[in-house]
């Protein structure tokens, strides 16, 4: 009995399947056949607009505006040659260029291909008027990313570009191969998930002339979130103009919050060209350029810190109690070691702690280095955030390099020598640091040992970045920071100080210069790293000129930077 029931159920299951097949293939077969043959279901993607990027005062740094795109669906083209010659005439673009774009972007015959983005309104109207002659041709209303400041501060922002055919994998399973826009480098990449809108679209049924017959369904696109940065557009402008014909970087930090107020890298690029198909040659040139304009030197450029490193040496030797501030060393302009002689910039004579910092005396710090020993220097370098990324919220940050005396043999094939210790002491040899690391280090010193992780983002949408600000305290007594600050004050205030150039009325600046030797034959890297503790907005800043010569040149830029910021009442 039970067996019979099982049999009955199985039979009815199979009958149901055959009935279903009959319904689908025979009763409705014609209808589905038409759907599959001419009247394809087409997915018309509608991109969710990307969120804006704003500076701290609400100035727009990146925005999305309406644009018109010429779009082709290849399976509906009737006369390819005629269509492309028409397009070439109307859009005033070479036919071969259009054909290449078409080939590169084709994914499948039914997927719309954007043949030209952001055509002007007149051309869009011409295309729209001639649409009936060319099935398969459409005008899409789309969105274009715009960066009103162009080259200025481009590295912080990054740029957006369409992913190409290889990278479309995300929506593959849903048959949704939209040619998506993604952020590359800078904030655009780091916060891509927040900025990116959620794509929606229509599913429509069209007839063989490409006209919409009916709407089958739709999903609303969702706009991405706006991001507010700590960046001040005015500082970007000042700093960008100062470096316009140079190579280097400027970083300005807010001492109280760790927000990045300004960050420029030079040479720079115009992020607007990445959304313009016609400028592809210009784009590829950017990536091939030997001056590396795409690299954000402020976080990815690694340079020997030179004498800036002495700040850290001075703190280390006091903290280790290996030296008191009234101890002096005699500088004859060089330090003999074996047959070699390690040079100083001048013959400074007798130098005490404060003078040695103010005059940046190498001989004094050679002695300090020998008192500390290389392992101890290494330890303090890491303590002050060198050799490790600051984890700023920007992609592609480099960690710099702090040599490990115990592994020297592994690296270079010879063991660590006393001479290496001397080079280490003045930030030369293998030591490398990024501008953001050095400005972070001096900020920590300015705050008497409190490190606040530098960051560019202030808020996303409605949410403010408050809990996410990381800070830690470095366990070095406050009085030692004060001692070092006296030296850094003298570097500007003292008549013979290395940065005396920066002495300005009613503006207290503390800091340290650096002239770092680079590879053979090239000019030195020029550094100034400093802070202003008594201005309305307390700032720390760093100026780097790559192969810029003596630190004098960095000081000149720093002076202009401060003067202009003061004139615009930013500080």
């Amino acid at each position: 009995m039970r067996f019979k029931i099982i049999k009955l159920i199985i039979v009815s299951f199979f009958l149901a399947l055959i009935a279903g097949l009959f319904h689908l293939q025979i009763i409705k077969g014609n209808e589905y056949y038409e759907l599959s043959r001419y009247n394809r279901i087409r997915i018309v993607p509608v991109e969710g607009n990307r969120g804006r990027i704003l500076d701290r005062n609400g100035v727009v740094l990146a925005d999305t505006r309406v644009s018109f795109d010429a779009v082709i669906i290849s399976q509906e083209i009737r006369d390819k040659e005629e269509l492309f010659s028409f397009l070439s005439r109307t859009l005033e673009v070479d036919q071969d260029v259009l054909l290449k774009i078409f080939k590169d972007r084709s994914a499948a015959p039914f997927v719309p291909v954007v043949i030209q983005e952001d055509i002007d309104q007149k051309k869009a109207v011409v295309l729209e008027e001639n649409k009936f002659r060319f099935p398969g041709l459409f005008v899409n209303v789309g969105a274009k990313r715009e960066y009103p400041f162009g080259e200025i501060g481009a590295h912080v922002l990054g740029y957006v570009s369409r992913i190409n055919q290889d990278k479309v994998k995300k929506f593959k399973d849903y048959g949704f191969s939209i040619q998506d826009v993604t952020g590359y480098s800078g904030v655009e990449e780091y916060y891509d998930n927040f900025l990116r809108g959620q794509d929606g679209g229509f599913q429509v049924e069209v007839n063989n002339r490409g006209e919409q017959v009916r709407l089958l369904g739709m999903r609303e696109p969702v706009k991405g979130q706006d991001i507010v940065l700590g960046i001040d557009a005015r500082i970007q402008k000042i700093a960008g103009n100062l470096l316009s014909d140079k190579r280097g970087a400027i970083v300005v930090l807010d001492l109280d919050t760790g927000e990045v107020l300004g960050m420029v890298s030079a040479p720079s690029f115009d992020p607007n060209i990445f959304t313009d198909i016609l400028k592809s040659r210009k784009r590829s040139r950017l990536f091939l350029d030997s001056s590396a304009p795409m690299m954000n030197r402020a976080i990815s450029g690694q340079y020997p810190p030179g004498s800036v490193f002495k700040i850290l040496m001075a703190l280390a030797v006091l903290d280790q109690k290996k030296l008191s501030t009234d101890k002096t060393f005699l500088c004859n302009g060089s330090y003999p070691l074996g047959r070699r002689s390690f040079r100083c910039s001048h013959s400074h004579g007798i130098q005490n702690f404060t003078e040695a910092i103010a005059h940046s005396c190498n001989v004094y710090f050679y002695n300090v280095g020998l008192l500390l020993g290389p392992e101890s220097i290494e330890e303090y370098a890491y303590l002050f955030g060198l050799g490790i990324p600051t984890n700023i919220d920007l992609p592609y940050e480099e960690p710099g390099l702090i040599p490990d005396p115990n592994k020297a043999f592994k690296r270079s094939g010879r063991s660590w020598s006393k001479g290496d210790t001397l080079n280490f002491s003045i930030g030369q040899g293998d030591v490398l640091a990024t501008p953001i690391q050095l400005v972070n280090m001096i900020s920590t010193v300015a705050r008497d040992g409190k490190e606040i992780a530098p960051h560019v983002m202030v808020s996303i949408g409605e949410a403010e970045n408050k809990e996410l600000i990381l800070s830690r305290d470095i366990d070095v007594p406050k009085e030692y920071f004060e001692d070092v600050k006296v030296g850094m004050k003298a570097a500007i205030g003292d008549y013979a100080g290395t940065a005396h150039l920066l002495a300005m009325n009613n503006l207290l600046v503390l800091g340290k210069t650096g002239t770092a030797q680079s590879s053979q034959g090239k000019r030195h890297h020029s550094w100034f790293v400093g802070f202003c503790p008594e201005t309305n907005r307390k700032i720390a800043f760093c100026v780097l000129l790559e192969h810029g010569g003596s630190s004098y040149y960095a000081c000149r830029i720093a002076k202009k930077l401060l003067a202009r910021m003061r004139r615009e009442k930013i500080i």
Partner: protein, 368 residues
């Protein structure tokens, strides 16, 4: 007589495998999305698999009785191991590396559970049906213990997440319970519990699983997402009409409209390219395979073989019907393969074991 039954089963099975290979060849023909490797993989699998079935049919199926509990426990260990060592593919953690081979323990669990239930019920005669003893003890031994035996692995499988296989395990349980002769009121009770627990399960389901169920009710609520598969699959099958578009000529198939068409949706390729005639032919082959197997099992007097046979037929039937049903838009998409046709090693291996068991049953039937 039983020799003849075995012969019919063999013929039906081989025809199904060949049809599957042809469909798979077409699904991967000159295609970038589905590589041709899929076809050759399956070809080797089919040859080796059929030989393995032949070998298994010469082995006494009672050997499976001996290893039932061991296999079950090892299988459970693998299911737990998945959460620790398994890797993700297609959004779920179902695969585990076993001596360099990718393997899905949840597939094997179908067979393990059949063996365990068959052994359990053949060891204890259900008393509930005959009202011999006090009700409480019988309820415990006839109903609760086997239920726990099923629920535990089913939860593990559900967690992967693999809703289809989890439900299938319950399907086996109900049918085997039914065939073991339990009183109807318990089946009705079980059904009631099932209905009540639907909302509970609903709250544990992943978003995409809910989507698939909702979309089944109305494909147009999400035509770009989950509904896309159903719509495209229906268009593919429907457009095949009576005679089909011809092998290698299905536009829906060749133009990549069909996602997962080499695995769960392979039937849509057959429907599109071979039309109503081809599709019905394949369904009839499955029907013959299943009904013949049922005949064979009906003649088995030995309880273990009988119950295990019923379980195997349950799996064959449910997977065939649900898989084709979801391609036709008759049931929700739950991710079950079409036996011997869908691409997939784990699935194939498990059906090899099951058919080997059935054919061994057919050879030995006369002994008892």
């Amino acid at each position: 007589m039983s020799r003849n039954l075995n012969k019919i089963i063999w013929i039906a099975m081989i025809v199904i495998v060949v049809v599957g290979l042809l469909a798979l060849y077409s699904a991967s023909y000159q295609n970038t999305r589905v590589s041709q490797k899929v076809f050759f993989d399956q070809l080797i699998l089919a040859v080796v698999g059929l030989l393995a079935i032949l070998g298994l049919s010469y082995i006494d199926y009672r050997k499976f009785y001996d290893v039932a509990y061991i296999l079950y426990i090892v299988n459970i260990v693998f299911l737990i191991g998945i959460f620790i060592f398994g890797h993700y593919a297609l959004g779920a953690k179902r695969w585990i590396d076993f001596f360099g081979l990718n393997f899905q323990p949840s597939e094997l669990m179908k067979f393990s559970i059949i063996l365990v239930l068959a052994r359990y019920f053949s060891d204890n005669k259900p008393k509930i049906a005959f009202h011999h003893h006090g009700l409480k003890a019988d309820f415990f031994s006839d109903f609760l213990i086997p239920l726990v035996l099923v629920v535990f692995p089913a939860l593990l499988v559900f967690k992967q997440p693999d809703l289809g296989t989890a439900l299938l395990l319950f399907g086996i349980f109900i049918v085997v319970l039914y065939a073991s002769g339990i009183a109807y009121k318990y089946l009705v009770g079980l059904f009631g519990i099932g209905l009540v627990s639907v909302p509970i399960f609903w709250s544990f389901m992943k978003a995409y699983q809910k989507d698939r169920l909702l979309v089944f009710l109305n494909p147009n609520i999400d035509p770009l997402g989950a509904g896309y598969t159903i719509i495209q699959s229906k268009i593919a099958v429907g457009s095949g009409q009576i005679f089909g578009k011809g092998w290698l000529s299905g536009t829906q198939n060749q133009l990549n409209f069909l996602p997962e068409r080499h695995t769960d949706f392979i039937f849509s390729v057959i429907g599109e390219e071979w039309g109503f005639i081809g599709a019905v032919f394949l369904i009839v082959c499955f029907f013959i395979l299943i009904m013949t197997s049922l005949d064979l099992v009906e003649r088995t007097k030995e309880k273990f073989g009988y119950l295990a046979g019923i379980g195997i037929i349950t799996i064959l039937t449910l997977q065939t019907v649900i898989n084709i049903g979801m391609v036709l838009g008759l049931c929700p998409i739950v991710g079950l393969t079409l036996p011997f046709v869908s691409y997939g090693r784990s699935s194939f291996v498990v059906f090899v074991l099951m058919m080997g068991f059935l054919l061994s049953l057919g050879r030995r039937r006369t002994i008892f």
